[in-house]
């Protein structure tokens, strides 16, 4: 269940320790070298000395001038340690050692170690000087047209951005959620504000970044994901995974949080805190999801959370309704390195022009599935979360040099392959929850030229999640869309 929005809402929002820092009124008159680069580099971020490409002497000058504030990276509150950068408070995620600073037990944070080690004896620097004003006159260069449902969500999001409120956009997979945000993002940038676009997965950042960079040509944009090259620090439009959002503090006026119900937000309260601290306390927040959690749905119905619902895809065609096919004991078959006959027959009989996703429940069965499909003559690859060639394989699949992509739930969201069909092998497995299956079914029929698309659940007994998925999709399809006509 997702608690992120409840952290943002309400008057009891805990005050971020950082927002008060930017209200310094006077600065003593000290000559400051490289002022503009420093301002762009530091504003809205918490940085270790090693992340500042300047000598210690210059950094100290800025600290004396009151432009940078210096705080220890790890602080102690009562008997708990807290990492000022990633808000980690889990005692299991701190380490200690005899340190060169002379301390017998110098503590450091293990959670955000990959971003450079922050320890009790190393300072973090925050920019407290004036913010750079970076308004762009006409940031949006997009000639596309919104569907009526999209237009409704788009103007609601833009309004929330102006009023600094929060709004939830509940739009089916393939409704064109990205386009709905263009207006809100463009208006924010025109006002000179900074925008955070947080997504749960690295793949989504990689896919979205070139698209947004194309739509907002003159806007300095940056993409942050694990293993990303050092991105432009002072960018107005920042795309980041939730982990990478920890690099920013009190930086953003508008946050778009994509796929709120997805994995890291749901299970890790530290990440929710990180996204919250990356935004200013009064920031507008737009949540995007196709499958809100029970908690959100309840709050929407009770009126506690403003929302817009877009039950139609942007091309106006209904969502493909999944069909169920009995596949027998698929796990036994896979352990014998075979595929269920039902799946093989279907693969042979379908029109092989269209690409096919085969979702499987665990990494362990990728290899047998891929081998069995290859022996049938299909060009096939498997991807999973730990796969280093994931990007290349997805690109190959998109280009049409692969017929079938076998994947774990890692590709359940955010990835658009235009005319794809979808098969779920072992749809009765516990990893395929209702929201996962709705997202997976949403991979099919995303292109107006082929809006139908097949979605087949190969199973060994129907589960409640499968039935709820079908009901969910049918409800969305039936739903009157009053603004659409």
């Amino acid at each position: 269940m997702n608690k992120l929005s409840s952290l943002f809402t309400g008057s009891k929002r805990p005050a971020s320790p950082f927002h008060s820092l930017s209200s310094v009124s006077e600065f003593p008159d000290i000559p400051l070298p490289d002022y503009e680069q420093m301002q762009a580099h530091c504003s809205g971020r918490a940085l270790l000395a090693q992340e500042l490409p300047y000598e210690q002497k210059i950094i100290d000058t800025y600290v004396r001038a009151g432009m940078l504030q210096k705080v220890p990276a790890i602080t102690q509150q009562d008997s708990f340690w807290r990492c000022q950068r990633c808000s980690n408070q889990d005692p299991g995620l701190f380490g200690a050692h005899t340190c060169a600073c002379g301390s017998e037990r110098c503590f450091y944070c293990r959670e955000c170690l990959e971003m450079g080690r922050g320890s009790a004896c190393t300072p973090l620097y925050y920019w407290t000087g004036p913010e750079a004003f970076r308004a762009a006159a006409e940031p949006l260069a997009w000639a596309g047209r919104l569907s009526p449902g999209q237009a409704r969500a788009s103007s609601a999001a833009a309004e929330a951005g102006r009023q600094k409120r929060e709004i939830y956009i509940w739009a089916v997979c393939g409704a064109g959620k990205t386009e709905m945000m263009f207006q809100a993002v463009a208006e924010a940038i025109a006002r000179g504000e900074r925008v955070l676009w947080a997504t749960p997965r690295t793949d989504v950042v990689r896919e979205l970044y070139p698209r947004l960079a194309g739509v907002f040509p003159g806007v300095p944009a940056a993409a942050w994901y694990a293993g990303s090259p050092e991105a432009l620090p002072g960018a107005s439009l920042v795309l980041a995974t939730a982990h990478q959002a920890r690099r920013f503090k009190s930086a953003f006026d508008v946050a778009v949080i994509d796929e709120v119900d997805a994995f890291p937000y749901v299970f890790d309260p530290g990440l929710q805190q990180a996204v919250r601290e990356a935004c200013r306390p009064e920031a507008a927040v737009v949540y995007l999801s196709a499958t809100p959690g029970q908690d959100e749905q309840r709050r929407m119905k009770s009126g506690a959370l403003a929302y817009v619902r877009v039950p139609r895809r942007f091309h106006g065609h209904p969502l493909p309704v999944p069909k169920c096919r009995w596949a027998g004991n698929w796990s036994l078959q896979l352990s014998r390195r075979r595929l269920p006959n039902a799946l093989l027959h279907w693969c042979r009989s379908r029109n092989a022009v269209h690409p096919l996703f085969v979702f499987i429940p665990s990494v362990a069965v990728i290899q047998p599935a891929v081998e069995a499909l290859r022996s049938e003559g299909f060009r096939c690859e498997g991807v999973h979360a730990g796969d280093e060639e994931r990007e290349e394989k997805i690109t190959a699949f998109r280009n049409g040099s692969l017929d079938i992509l076998v994947t774990t739930t890692i590709l359940e969201r955010g990835v658009t392959i235009p005319k794809a069909d979808v098969a779920v092998l072992g749809a009765d497995d516990a990893v395929f929850t209702e929201s996962a299956l709705v997202q997976i079914a949403g991979r099919a029929g995303r292109n107006p030229e082929r809006p139908e698309g097949d979605v087949i659940f190969f199973h060994y007994g129907r589960t409640k999640a499968m039935q709820q998925t079908i009901r969910h999709i049918e409800t969305m399809n039936r739903e009157e869309a009053p603004y659409d006509h």
């Binding site: 340690w81 005692p91 299991g92 995620l93 701190f94 380490g95 200690a96 050692h97 005899t98 340190c99 060169a100 600073c101 017998e104 037990r105 110098c106 503590f107 450091y108 293990r110 959670e111 170690l113 990959e114 080690r117 320890s119 004896c121």
Partner: protein, 238 residues
């Protein structure tokens, strides 16, 4: 002399390597020995422990007899009182990733996962030896904030002696050098506490034994300062 058992007072309840929440499976081994598990089952499975035949002098895996490298060391320094090197693990890609995080990113507590095995190796092979960790140069200490060899030595739970000192080196990181460069370079160890090592068996502690040049040089310096014999215990045998 220092002891440091404090390393593990934090970082509990999670795998020291991958930081997953620990859910130890109940095997008979765990049940009866009551050994606290510090790594998750998945990481334990991937540990590249050295088993089977190893060179009796440098612990190189796959050498039942003394390996050619060690024979060369013997020829070079016939008067040396070298005992042997003992290592716990191979250097494979898992261990490489582990070392990167531990040493270069600076996650010092990760070493605590191997304290039990290090103590075991110490008792089995080097009982009564005085542990002496390999020092870092002053600059590297400031940059890294801790000495990885000292972190390992602290795990032996007996007082170790920081008897060696190291001058500034010109050649840069050893991990970036070739074998020939390593064998030819001089690290410049000096013994700061000769009165403690003289007449004793010393055990040099380091994180990795690659060519052996570092520990052999340290052994030579310690023997010249009066040590009865020198051996080494390293975490990894590359």
């Amino acid at each position: 002399m220092t002891t440091d058992g404090a390393l593990l007072s934090f970082a509990r309840g999670r795998c020291l390597s991958c930081r997953e929440q620990l859910q130890t499976s109940w095997t008979y081994n765990n049940l009866f020995t009551w050994k606290k598990s510090l790594l998750c089952d998945n990481c334990t499975e991937q540990l590249p422990a050295i088993t089977g035949a190893a060179c009796p002098e440098c612990w190189a895996p796959g050498h039942p007899e003394v390996c050619p490298d060690c024979l060369r060391w013997r020829r070079q320094n016939s008067a040396g009182r070298w005992v042997k090197n003992v290592s716990l693990f191979h250097y494979d890609s898992w261990m490489q990733a582990w070392t990167t995080r531990w040493k270069f990113r600076g996650d010092a507590v990760m070493a605590a996962a191997f304290y039990h095995d290090l103590r075991h190796a110490y008792r089995k092979h080097f009982h009564g030896f005085v542990p002496v960790p390999i020092p870092l140069t002053p600059e590297r200490t400031l940059e890294r904030r801790f000495n990885q060899a000292e972190v390992l030595a602290a795990g032996l739970n007996i007082p170790y002696v920081s008897a060696l000192e190291r001058a500034t080196e010109a050649a840069g990181k050893q991990s970036k050098q070739t074998k020939r460069e390593r064998l030819q370079s001089v690290r410049g160890f000096t013994v700061s506490l000769p009165e403690i090592v003289s007449g004793r068996n010393v055990l040099i502690i380091d994180d990795i034994y690659t060519t052996g040049a570092t520990v052999r040089e340290a052994a030579g310096v310690l023997e010249a300062a009066g040590a009865a014999s020198a051996a080494s215990l390293t975490l990894i045998r590359a």
